[in-house]
Amino acid sequence: MTESIAGLEHQFETLEQQHEAGWLGMWAFLATEIMFFGGMFTGYVIYRWAYFGAFAAGSKDLEIWAGTLNTLVLICSSFTMVLAVHAAETGERRGQIGFLLATMFLGTVFLGVKGYEWTTLFRDHHVPGIGFHFSGPYQNTAQIFFSFYFALTGMHALHMVVGVGLLTFLLVKAWRAEFTPAHHAAVDIIGLYWHFVDIVWIFLFPLLYLVDRHR
């Protein structure tokens, strides 16, 4: 009897129950993600308090245009993502494919800009480690800032890469026209993940790029 409903897995009674479980599962997972980044945010807060001058100096050394551009790129990608979800809700296959592709493209642009920034920092010897060099009064404390910069942006970029992978999975399914207005939980749920990664960046931007800019 239960097998007759398309797309219903054996452990659930109804599709609604199945969707609810998937939705809640993703939100619970996002709660764990908050804590995953939270450990590093905590460190950021206490070190920024202790080494404010170094954080300001390090922050001014980052390219603000790159940070702002990336923020805008991610916001646009969230917008295209939500439009892809919308297309799934209304069952427009071409819309799904188009917006998923746009989201993936914007995600890749983000990673490209990030890669450019990292290369610049590497060239300037601002990568923590033996070769670290920073001129000016904060030569021996600025490394802490860059440690957090690389740990946080690195972890975030890793999440972006995973996100692009998940979008590819969605794209294949959209291509095969597997999403119907009644059954498109995967788009919904992966969309949540993508927006979460966006939110993390929304916080990283002011924390990393905008420390004491006015001075």
């Binding site: 897995e9 054996h10 452990q11 659930f12 009674e13 129950q17 609810e20 479980a21 809640l24 599962g25 619970a28 997972f29 709660a31 764990t32 993600e33 804590m35 995953f36 980044f37 939270g38 450990g39 590093m40 905590t42 460190g43 206490i46 070190y47 202790a50 080494y51 990568v127 923590p128 480690g129 033996i130 021996n140 404390t141 490394q143 802490i144 440690s147 957090f148 690389f150 740990a151 972890m155």
Partner: protein, 536 residues
């Protein structure tokens, strides 16, 4: 009894390796976990044995210091991350949670299987770190020792623990969502067995605490490889920040280990006293209370670490508060025993032993929460004795109680009762002989993680090692008779203990779909018959 089984039991539903390794049935995954954690348990126990042999003499004659350090590190890592944390949740919880709430499976069966594979991969990493030179940081990975000074295989180990953390997160997530969305009709929250409440509270900790451990370990590995300097004082870092992050997970992790055992107690005590639980609400909410307040006490590991004394005071106060829900549980079980009809089957003997040892372990926790006394006993064998009373006397006894309790359900067979009782008694006695002397050693001032010690501590150490060998017998016996029972044991029938609860209303072993028809719940949990009902 002629059993007309319409569906084959989960054990017979498919044979061959692939039917096990690719299964999505929570019951089979539970058995995969059972076999793996038993393996890890005896691996950890071998290290424990080597530690105890080494400590027979004050000079620590058995092995060199460095080897001893890798022994206690591996003992701690394996026992905590690969045995205690998955023990009750991933084995017993996995098996009985869907049965208890009347569901066909967990909400995410594929993720459930995935978490077992993650567990195994994490285990392989950690074991390979042990093989390729070992790791000598202690399970606590304190920086800057782990991040700079240790010459052992820290990164590989850290990766292993990082990976296994995700197994724990996914299991917790699965349990939470399953409990929320998959309860049978009529199974309201206050009709849930208390074991489910305990598992829910445990999952809460797994989901919200484990990611912080993951972050911490990533930072340690990065620090070691790239010299980030976040925990390194010579680069401006703060080692205490590591301790905060580490204990934010690792203190609640203690509750991951003990809460499920407390849940098992509520099942076994009611079943073998055959009496409805006293104070259902108090026990249910004390589980949640422990999980929540348990997150706010981590600083009591850091009273002498150089953390602020004011924060220390706050942590001390909260630590005393978290003792209260544990006390409430014990009193409620005593009140349940009062006026019951108590039978002394093996699970009950383990449970009564549990209550005793947990009481001692809990009360000695007060010494450690009291800041003035903690100064003296911190990082001594007093602490070692205390947490073994909680984790071995508590969590492992609880696991044994649960395993024996649900064994007939899992396998459909009964084990030989006499041997079971004997093992329970041997375990209890051996345990006390092993760990009670360590309280005295600790107050005398013997620090932990010493491979040699002043000669006046020898007598107590010898006593402890003697106890460990008895304890070893107590753990080996069940392996023998439980394996024996698989083929030769008496057929159990659906409900050998005449217990309440949905898991006993389906055949043993249950069919793959758990129930022949979706169950409907119409009464409170633990509705055992009483005098009154007889008069009516």
């Amino acid at each position: 009894m002629s059993m007309v089984q319409t569906a084959p039991s989960y054990l017979e539903d498919g044979h061959g390796l692939a039917s096990w390794l690719l299964t999505r049935d929570h019951k089979r995954i539970a058995l995969l976990y059972l076999v793996s954690i038993i393996g890890f348990f005896f691996l950890g126990a071998i290290f424990a044995g080597l530690i105890r042999v080494n400590l027979l003499s004050p000079q620590g004659d058995l092995v060199r210091p460095q080897t001893y350090n890798t022994f206690f590190t591996m003992h701690g890592l394996i026992m905590i991350f690969f045995f205690l944390i998955p023990s009750i949740p991933a084995v017993l919880g996995n098996f009985v949670l869907p049965l208890m709430i009347g569901a066909r499976d967990l909400a995410f069966p594929k993720i459930n299987l995935l978490s077992w594979y993650i567990f195994i991969v994490g285990g392989l990493f950690t074991i390979s770190a042990g093989l390729f030179g070992g790791v000598d940081t202690g399970w606590t990975f304190y920086t800057p020792f782990s991040s700079i000074y240790s010459n052992s295989n820290v990164v590989l180990t850290v990766i292993g623990i990082f990976i296994v953390g995700f197994s724990s997160i996914l299991t917790g997530l699965n349990f939470i969502i399953t409990t929320h969305t998959m309860r049978a009709s009529g199974m309201t929250w206050f009709r849930l067995p208390l074991f489910i409440w305990a598992l829910y509270a445990t999952s809460l900790i797994m989901v919200l605490g484990t990611p912080v451990l993951a972050t911490t370990l990533v930072l340690v590995a990065l620090e070691r490889v790239f010299h980030l300097g976040i925990f390194d004082p010579s680069r401006g870092g703060d080692p205490i920040y590591f301790q905060h992050l580490f204990w934010f997970y690792s203190h609640p992790a203690v509750y991951i280990m003990i809460l499920p055992s407390l849940g098992v107690m509520s099942e076994t005590i009611t079943c073998f006293a055959r009496r409805r639980i006293f104070g259902y609400n108090a026990i249910a909410f004390s589980s949640l209370g422990i999980a929540v307040i348990g997150f706010l006490v981590w600083g009591h590991h850091m009273f002498v670490s150089g953390q602020s004394v004011y924060v220390g005071m706050m942590f001390s106060l909260l630590s005393f508060l978290v003792a209260i829900p544990s006390a409430i549980k014990v009193f409620n079980w005593m009140a349940t025993l009062y006026g019951g009809t108590i039978a002394f089957d093996t699970p009950m003997l383990y449970s009564l032993g549990f209550i005793g040892l947990f009481t001692v372990g809990g009360l000695t926790g007060l010494y450690l929460a009291a800041m003035g006394v903690d100064i003296h006993v911190h990082d001594t064998y007093f602490v070692v004795a205390h947490f073994h009373y909680i984790m071995v006397g508590g969590a492992v006894m609880g696991f044994m109680a649960g395993l024996h309790y649900w064994w007939p359900k899992i396998t459909g067979r009964l084990y030989p009762e006499v041997w079971g009782r004997l093992a329970a008694i041997i375990t209890f006695l051996g345990f006390n002989l092993t760990f009670f002397p360590q309280f005295i050693l600790g107050y005398l001032g013997m620090p932990r993680r010493y491979h040699m010690y002043p000669p006046e501590f020898q007598a107590l150490n010898v006593l402890s090692s003697a106890g460990a060998s008895i304890l070893g017998i107590g753990y080996l016996l069940p392996v023998i008779y439980l394996l024996w029972s698989l083929r030769r044991g008496q057929v159990a029938g659906p409900n050998p203990w005449r217990a309440t609860g949905l898991e006993w209303q389906t055949p043993s072993p249950p069919p793959t779909a758990n129930f022949e028809a979706p169950p409907v719940v119409r009464e409170e949990p633990y509705s055992y018959p009483t005098w009154e009902a007889q008069i009516d």
